[in-house]
């Protein structure tokens, strides 16, 4: 089997991993070395599915001894199997890196022989890259659940990021779909990495080498099991708080195996995945809590509106917000205003009071924000328009191109819909 066949098989098996980021590490290059880290990460290409390619994402082997029902590489599937040698992976990484195809290596693996045996191969690969080729680019390695702690220590000082995929968001689902795996086997190494990271940061004299400088991440699968969005989001929130994870990735389940315990989906639940990512950002950068976005009455996200708009409509008593006086954290809660816009507003209003015109000049998009703000005490529309019905109808109307509208209502003479640009032109030309 030549390197082409191996690459085809093992890249194909690795593609369901969502993570590809190369950010968070600022590893420096030496004079005779190759590569360096870039704090914000660099994307090198984008695949046909629109996901960025920044790392050489491959499995070390796909000859797995486990039989997890959702996984393409389960031992009872008849798919072609291949295994790299550590040298092959290292050479491929270096040659791709020299041609600027990639930012580094993302090495994951199925479990072959035993967790420890597999983990030793990963350590060997990373060690060839770092110590022999003096490679200082990005390396992201999967930790194999159930491996020994010494191996985690060894790998941790070689790589930039480590991750363990939880995949199934609850113990019951785990029992149902991955009976050979245990919850503890997954959570224990995660806790161990997070504790070592904390110690490493506190006591720099004792730990000379940096341990996983870009932190650890995980992945949850969406749509294969009956968990609600609330449950998934709560789990992520908990992990961000207690384990200090850098990212939680969500991957929409793609039906690849037939099993009585698995749902058959025609298409992967991409909208749901998107909503979870939106909410995830709200947790990490916007100061939201999972409880605010979802609750027992609404355990799943609104399919028509994004989580922030949805939250704002449920909490209209907190609006409208005055742009010129609200603090940073309040500004972030306005739908349509993100971190960049909020910072721009804060800088610009030190010199001038802002009105709608100057907001537009700053490049703040008002498509959603206009319904929720006042500038110098003025609302964008007539004051009596500030009600849930008006705002919701117009928000849905502006999104109509992207999201199919399902709500049908009796039209009324006193429609709350704003006229569009085309309507106004039609009025003028008389072509009604």
């Amino acid at each position: 089997m030549d390197i082409f066949d191996k690459l085809k098989i093992l890249a194909d098996s690795a593609k369901y991993d969502a993570s590809c980021s190369s950010s968070g590490s600022n590893r420096k290059n030496t004079n005779d070395g190759i590569g360096n880290g870039h704090v914000s990460g660099i994307c090198h290409s984008w695949g046909a599915d629109g996901r960025c390619i920044s790392l050489l994402k491959i499995l070390f082997t796909n000859a797995c001894m486990y039989d997890c029902k959702y996984c393409i590489n389960r031992s009872s599937n008849s798919v072609p199997r291949a295994t790299f040698t550590p040298r092959e992976v290292a050479d491929l990484t270096i040659h791709f890196y020299k041609r600027n195809y990639i930012e580094g290596l993302f090495l994951s693996s199925a479990v072959i022989k035993s967790p420890d045996y597999t983990m030793e191969r990963l350590v060997e690969t990373a060690s060839i890259l770092r110590n022999e080729y003096h490679f200082h680019g990005y390396i992201h390695c999967k930790t194999i659940p159930g491996c020994s702690q010494e191996l985690i220590d060894k790998l941790g000082v070689l790589v930039d990021r480590m991750s363990i995929n939880i995949e199934l968001p609850s113990n019951d689902s785990l029992k149902l779909l991955a009976p050979q795996k245990e919850k503890d086997g997954i959570l224990k190494p995660m806790t161990y990495i997070s504790n070592t990271l904390k110690l490493n940061k506190m006591d720099k004299s004792k730990y000379k080498e940096k341990f996983v400088p870009a932190g650890q991440t995980t992945q949850l699968m969406v749509g294969a099991t009956p968990e609600t969005d609330l449950k998934i989001l709560k789990l992520s929130e908990g992990m961000y708080k207690s384990l200090k994870l850098k990212r939680v990735y969500y991957s929409a389940y793609v039906s690849i195996n037939n099993d009585k315990n698995l749902p058959t989906l025609e298409k992967p639940p991409l909208l749901r995945e998107n909503r979870l990512y939106q909410a995830d950002w709200l947790l990490r950068f916007y100061g939201f809590q999972a409880d605010e976005l979802l609750n027992e009455e609404h355990p799943n996200f609104n399919t028509l509106l994004d989580p922030k708009c949805d939250w704002a409509l449920r909490n209209l008593d907190k609006f409208p917000i005055e742009i010129n006086t609200a603090n940073y954290h309040t500004l972030l809660r306005i739908p349509g205003i993100g971190v960049i816009s909020a910072k721009k507003i804060i800088t610009a209003r030190r010199e001038f009071l802002l009105d709608f015109e100057s907001l537009k000049k700053l490049g703040v998009v008002l498509k959603r924000a206009q319904y929720f703000i006042t500038c110098k005490g003025k609302y964008f529309y007539e004051v009596n328009k500030f009600n849930k019905n008006f705002i919701e109808t117009n928000l849905l109307y502006t999104e109509r191109n992207t999201i199919p509208q399902k709500k049908f209502e009796q039209l009324s003479m006193f429609d709350t819909l704003l006229p569009t640009k085309e309507d106004k032109i039609k009025c003028l030309t008389g072509s009604l």
Partner: protein, 252 residues
């Protein structure tokens, strides 16, 4: 700057950043604002224009350069340099106004985003920097000799120098050529020092056999890594506009 004299003249300069800084020096010391500033190469003769050629004076340029750093702030220098590299329309006159105002106001100038030319200088900087960042990823080296690599690019902004520096830091032992085909300039690096030269007729030797193998491997990886069930050409195009496709190895 409000009481400055507006002169109905077009200033011409040699198209370098030092040249522009000399103009800043002249304008600021005489308190005059020209109507337009155009580099001599791009200038199209117009019989209504009154033109004046400003000779680049490195002494004056250096004084302005240090003055910006001292009296405005480092960020202003950064903003004006990257705005200068961008392909923004009438960038020179905007940078001149931005800097002259900056000398009067100080570092606060960067927060005055509602002044149109401050906003556009900052926007131009952003355009240049973001294209530079994009090309840090999308540039593809080809091996054309032993430890000699070549890459061609077609950028909108003139960002070959910051781009080159990125690769010097990253691949210090590798000899490489980055070729900006829109401007016909080359960034050469021989693992010790770098140089930017004009390159109107440049012949590139054929790629090595090993190179072909890795190109094939990369194309294979690129095709395999996409999930067919999630195909999304629009999303792909948004991140990787078609104008960059011509220099890629893979075929998106």
């Amino acid at each position: 700057m409000s009481n400055w004299k507006l002169v109905n003249t077009t200033y011409l300069y040699d198209g370098t950043f030092d040249g522009l800084l000399t103009i800043v020096f002249e304008s600021y010391s005489h308190k005059t604002l020209p109507q337009k500033i155009v580099s001599e190469e791009e200038y199209i003769q117009n019989f209504l224009d009154k033109t004046q050629y400003i000779n680049t004076n490195y002494e004056k340029a250096k004084r302005v350069f240090e003055g910006i750093n001292k009296n405005i702030c480092y960020e202003a220098l950064y903003n004006s340099f990257y705005a200068f590299l961008s392909d923004g329309k009438e960038k020179e006159i905007k940078i001149l106004k931005y800097l002259c105002d900056g000398f009067d106001i100080g570092p606060k100038i960067n927060t005055m985003l509602t002044i149109s030319y401050v906003f556009s200088v900052i926007n131009m900087r952003k355009r240049a920097l973001s294209e530079c960042h994009k090309l840090k990823g999308l540039l593809r080296f080809m091996e054309i000799g032993k430890n000699l690599y070549y890459a061609s690019i077609h950028p909108d902004n003139n960002i070959i120098e910051p781009l080159g520096h990125h690769f010097i830091k990253r691949l210090p032992t590798q000899n490489f050529i980055i070729h900006d085909k829109n401007r016909n300039i080359c960034f050469l690096y021989n693992s010790q020092e770098y140089k930017i030269i004009d390159s109107t007729n440049l012949t590139i030797p054929d790629v090595t056999e090993e190179e072909q193998k890795y190109q094939e491997l990369w194309k294979l990886f690129f095709k395999t890594i996409a999930i067919q069930e999630r195909k999304n050409a629009r999303c792909q195009m948004q991140f990787m506009p078609k104008k960059y496709w011509q220099d890629l190895i893979e075929e998106p």
